[in-house]
């Protein structure tokens, strides 16, 4: 086999390897869902972000419209400051509200956006004013027990 033959075979080998990598990236992973357009950043402050993680999806009506870019603590108000990166194709009114919801019963948490009715839209750098924090299980249990105690107290009267 001459030099040409070897080079052809090696080229085939490298091509097969590259195809395998491309297959893995496109068909087996989530490269195809990368936004080809740009994104714009919007901020939101929550009292408790619960189990929200960076790169969690931002959904509206169940459709993914963006990702959580970063999470930090706002030292002025001691609230969690979440930066959402929204796809430029989707614009929301200025009075959109953001909630932290859980996918399924025990799934990962994500941010759900509910659009309001304002004429003006959220621009890059704006802050979402109306937010609802994540449900904290301990507070829920405490609330339930308190209600139960109050009920039995009422019944005794």
């Amino acid at each position: 086999m001459g030099k040409r033959g070897i080079e052809t075979l090696v080229g085939t080998f490298v091509l097969l390897g590259a195809l395998a990598i491309v297959f893995l990236a496109l068909k087996a992973a989530n490269l195809a869902s990368f936004t080809t357009g740009g994104t714009y950043a919007v901020f939101a402050r929550f009292d408790n972000i619960g189990g929200l993680k960076v790169r969690a999806p931002v959904k509206s009506a169940g459709v993914t419209v963006g990702r959580v870019a970063s999470i930090s603590l706002d030292l002025k108000t001691y609230q969690g400051l979440v930066t959402l990166e929204l796809d430029q194709r989707f614009v929301f009114p200025k009075d959109t509200s953001a909630k932290i919801l859980t996918a399924g019963l025990l799934g990962d948490q994500y941010i759900g956006l509910e659009p309001g009715g304002d004429d003006k839209n959220l621009a890059s750098g704006d802050t979402i004013k109306m937010t609802q924090s994540a449900v904290v299980l301990e507070n829920l249990i405490g609330q339930f027990l308190y209600n139960k105690a109050a009920e039995s107290g009422d019944a005794k009267k």
Binding site: F13, A20, I21, A25, K27
Partner: protein, 262 residues
Amino acid sequence: MTLPEIPQRVGAVSLAVLRRLGHNATFFVELMQSLPAALRRFYLVTAQIHAIGNYSLVIIVASGMAVGFVLGLQGYYTLSRYGAAESLGLLVALSLVRELGPVVTALLYAGRAGTSLTAEIGLMKAGEQLAAMEMMAIDPRQRVLAPRFVGGIIAMPLLAAMFSAVGIFGGYVVGVLLIGIDAGQFWSQMQNGVDVFDDVGNGIVKSVVFGVACTFVALYQGYEAQATPDGVAQATTRTVVISSLAVLMLDFVLTALMFSSL
């Protein structure tokens, strides 16, 4: 061994290990120094990719298919106990891309390509070809070792990616075609759960590291083999053992580095 000889033996063995480690390190540095020369004569590297990569294709693809089949079967049995059989695609893909692809490919590579490298270089040494090269003022590191090193580093990630891809296909064949899981669920769960950079990217980084390790061990054992047929045979065995151990331990370190912060 009498009692006073034991600390003596322990000391001697420790010093020998340290000396070996140092020799390995200097060999590695000299190999790095000869890399630019190998890149200049790329036709040598191409010939080595052919010898290492093309000839390993059969075993890698066949093993990948088999591992994919087994993952599909075992994954289905375990997941269906918890009613999560639709996540089979995700299980197969993550297992292959993160761990099994790089590691099993590296072990097979060490067995097939590593031993062939060691034997080739060991026989060159036994037949005094390396000494003859040095006589002609040709650096055997540049001509013989460095092209094989570069060829191995290029071939390994490609082989690992092919292993993972064929394995996913094997899991698809067993899970969807044979067992009857929904094809849409199979692929969509996989696409949602496997991240390009965190999973596929890290897997490729792992396979490059394993390629460096296995190829280096093979070249070192071949170059330092005793110049006898028996010496070459022992060097070949050592290549497989040391490469396999190195790959498995490196895998633990890399996994801890890459995936523990998720």
